[in-house]
């Protein structure tokens, strides 16, 4: 790999100038760039920030920046985040970003396999130390010294720590890599943890979701590619641009919530009329993600729109956050009837005892 710029690389790969300009526009859109001032105010060098068209800004950056190698590690995952990416809204954009621009190592997508691929990874880690971007999909098990998940005879933790050491930035994609996901669900037999719990000396950008929204992932990647900076993050290290609002805040069924019109089952009149799914267990009010605005499949729909309550998949421990179909306000655990019975009996016994003692005392006072 020579130090050619992204633009040169794309031209060599057969991308026309016209396609390149389109790509720049898409990238600018994915990052949410819409006018000059925010671009100028960003960390971008002035010579790149000149010009009022966001696509121009991106084009200049791509024409002058070297290619960014990406290492994509998969641990306790289902490859669903990769699947989602390959089926995303702008296939050309994803293809360009993933296959032409950068991804050097991806167990599911790479053409090579086995020792060849591992050697390539080792080379990238060595030659591009401090420059490559590390993407992690899947949780990292720490139980029995990490032996629950091994690749090429090495534990996931081992591989992660090695790759993280020289990474310019680390992006965790999907709920498993960010917050542990289903591997971490109670009782968490493998001791699974999110990447940011294992790598604590470097910032980890969490693109949570099950799977992560492809446009959110690409948008974040694009920002790093173009500006060389990481987006502003919330307290769970998720980019604020995409995780700033709850599903509830942007929900198309929100008016029905306010009006008190709810679907009570999945096939009643309310469900057919598209009423609010809160009573069917929607976790929208506490779930921060861009589903309701970016949506899925070229903006076609998202779970709540197609009639299913939000599961809260971009939040930590959503598997253990109460039943998927139970209202969010309901208690997570209830005392058993036996426990309540014992409590009532104990209260009654203590009450009777105190009353008895009082009466005895009264009698004692009366007789003396």
């Amino acid at each position: 790999m020579s130090e050619e710029t992204i633009y040169q690389h794309l031209r060599r790969e057969g991308v026309t100038r016209r396609d390149f300009v389109k790509l720049c526009g898409l990238l600018a859109g994915a990052m949410g760039l819409n006018s000059l001032p925010p671009v100028k105010a960003s960390a971008l060098p002035l010579e790149l920030a000149q010009g009022s068209n966001p696509a121009d800004v991106v084009a200049r950056a791509l024409a002058s920046k070297p290619r960014l190698p990406v290492l994509w590690l998969e641990f306790q995952d289902c490859a669903g985040c990769s699947e989602a990416l390959t089926r995303s809204q702008s296939p050309t954009l994803i293809e360009l970003v993933l296959s032409k621009i950068s991804v050097e190592y991806h167990e599911t997508l790479s053409a090579a396999a086995g020792f060849q691929l591992e050697e390539n990874k080792a080379e990238i880690i060595k030659n591009y130390a401090g420059k490559y971007l590390l993407v992690v999909e899947g949780a990292v098990p720490l139980g029995i010294e990490g032996d629950y998940c091994t690749i090429g005879g090495r534990s996931a933790k081992d591989l992660l720590v090695e790759a993280a050491k020289g990474a310019a930035a680390i992006v965790a994609t999907g709920n498993c890599a960010t917050f542990g996901g289903i591997p971490k669900a109670k009782p968490n037999p493998t001791g699974a943890k999110g990447v940011w719990e294992v790598i604590t000396d470097k910032p980890v950008v969490n693109i949570s979701g099950c799977p992560a929204i492809p446009e959110v992932f690409t948008g974040t990647l694009a920002q790093f590619l173009v500006f060389g900076t990481l987006p502003e993050l919330d307290d769970l290290n998720r980019p604020k641009t995409f995780y700033g609002n709850t599903i509830h805040d942007r929900c198309l069924r929100r008016p029905f919530y306010e009006a008190g019109k709810f679907a009570l089952t999945f096939d009643d009149e309310g469900a057919r009329k598209g009423w609010c799914l809160y009573k069917l267990g929607c976790k929208g009010p506490t779930t921060y993600n861009a589903c309701a605005s970016i949506k899925w499949d070229a903006g076609l729909s998202f779970p709540v729109q197609s009639g299913h309550p939000c599961l809260g998949c971009s939040e930590p421990d959503f598997w253990d956050g109460g039943g998927f179909y139970e209202g969010q306000s309901t208690p997570l655990s209830k005392p058993t009837l036996t426990a309540l019975g014992i409590a009532a009996a104990a209260g009654a016994v203590v009450g009777a005892g105190m009353a008895g003692a009082n009466q005895a005392k009264k009698k004692h006072v009366a007789t003396h």
Binding site: G260, E315, S329, P331, A343, V350, G351, Q359
Partner: protein
Amino acid sequence: MNWKDTLEFARGPFFQVALIVFVGGMAYRLMRVLLLGWSRDRVPSKGSKLGGVVIAYLKGIIIWPFVPWVKNTFSKKPVMYLAGGLFHLGLFVIIFFGTPHMLVWKSLLGLGWSTLPTPIVDWLAAVTLVALATLLINRLVDPVLKLITGPAEVLNWLFVFLPMLTGYTMTHHLLNPYEMIFSLHVLAVDILLIWIPFSRISHFIFYFFSKTIHGAQFGKRAVTP
């Protein structure tokens, strides 16, 4: 511990403890009251005890609230009467007909019911908050009430006011993040649950005891008001 964990704690283990304390505490209070002893009643019966009970409830819950001017308590202390009445009405509607609250009942009892639209519950919540504030000011200003106001009375007020305030703040998204205010709301309710049996808020159940006994006594003596 972040707010997500706090919320899980408040909705999970802490709620469990609070409910157990509530049930145990109410059983304790009930036993204490029942075993206070009954004095012998030698008055000959002049009327129906049951009739007295029925009339006591009808007048107390259905008639007086809608013709308040008949009552001395209203003409002498209209603010207190109105604020007190609206506060109780608001609390009742919010607790039983606010959608999220009904879902709590549903998960505890296994049966649900229809709820009121958010704006109606919301307006009543605002009214309840204003009523609560009015009642506190009244309590602190009124020369007689001042004399019988101790820490327990102020805490009673506070432990009811906090769930109301946090609930209102939450539905209006006045404080962020949502999990924080949600956690505070549930925590406040858990604390209230623990506080109720050992305070005079237990009148939510003892009210019906005294209403029944008074009604029966009135009926027996044929002096039903």
